[in-house]
Subunit: 209 residues, 2 copies
């Protein structure tokens, strides 16, 4: 009964989830090795061992597949949600720690590096990445800032994102030293208060205040 409602030819739940996962894993590998321009739905299907029509049916076009693969790349949406609901006094530190520990895993890091390279390197991809990150990440920071009664929640959330994005790119994409080898604890202690301030503290005071 349930299967019938899913429409003709669609596989049963178990195999559908497996196929989606296989496609997403294959897409992550293709985007990483071939770049965005060099990746095709057909190539992803071949690597995943599925019919190209299935990739199209599940994900639509390449942009949508990329967006889903970004999510797979470890953008910690669920964990972000847990983390944002915790106590506020050390939230900045928790955000930085999550962002870093997440990407100490080489597979996730490599995938996210590929995402950042694609997102910055090509203008159409930038648009996609921006809208994805705005919706999924920046909007959550804005909710937190707003719930604390802060004004300018949108700008605060963007400022948090500038710091996290710059940190990720210089540590993992460009691998600038000594930052790339610095212990996570040192970075959390240094950058946590920046995030905390952007989210919750007075931002428009005079210099030295």
């Amino acid at each position: 009964m349930a299967d019938a409602r899913r429409g003709r030819g669609r596989p049963a739940a178990g195999s559908s989830i497996d196929a989606r996962a296989a496609i997403l894993a294959a897409a992550g590998e293709e985007f990483r090795s071939a770049g965005y321009e060099g990746t095709s739905l057909r190539g992803v299907a071949r690597r995943a061992g599925v019919d190209p029509a299935l990739v199209h049916r599940y994900f639509g076009d390449k942009a949508a597949l990329f967006s889903a693969a970004v999510d797979l790349a470890g953008l910690p949406r669920a964990r972000l949600s847990d983390l944002l609901s915790g106590p506020r006094s050390e939230l900045g530190h928790r955000i930085v720690r999550l962002a870093l520990t997440e990407y100490e895993d080489p597979a996730l890091r490599d995938q996210m590096v590929a995402v950042v390279r694609a997102a910055i390197g090509s203008a159409p991809m930038s648009h996609l990445a921006t809208s994805f990150v705005s919706t999924e990440v920046v909007a959550r920071f804005a909710e937190v800032a707003e719930s604390a009664g802060g004004d300018d929640a949108g700008l605060r959330a963007d400022l948090v994102s500038t710091q996290l994005f710059g940190l990720f790119t210089m540590r993992y994409v460009l691998a600038v030293e000594p930052l790339a080898s610095a212990p996570i604890d040192a970075i959390v202690a240094a950058v946590g208060p920046t995030i905390q301030r952007y989210l919750f503290e007075e931002l428009q005071g005079p210099p030295g205040a």
Copy 2:
């Protein structure tokens, strides 16, 4: 006499400077429109109206030409030097203001956006850009932090760079709103203290300290 010492076939000072400037301007345009991979010394020479051998003689290879064009793109080396030698109490604010006002000029901004896209989008370019920025910019921040008696000058300079890079990329490359349209004064007030803290203040205190 002076000309003779410059070696055979090299033009006199006046025309040499003109030709260099023409080549650099042409290189900036080529890198912007064709990307790093799509740019050739020959194409740059054609656009500059000079012999390709001259491009090679002045700049060597494409990587070196790119590095020189980055400099042209407005990386404010001389102004950075002036700025770093000023009083310390508002240095963070001055750095952020310089970084932003510099790129309100659409021509400089477009060129720098192209540089960032090339630098992040391709792994070989990342290496070049990292070594350039490390030598020309991050090293100067480290000197400032060190001269103030701070420990960890290298890490402090990297942290400054993460914030400035993230700010530039999100405001100008990705054009994320409301950041992209925020008044410079508001961003200076918000981000200046971050830079100030990374350069001069205690970074390893406990959360909430």
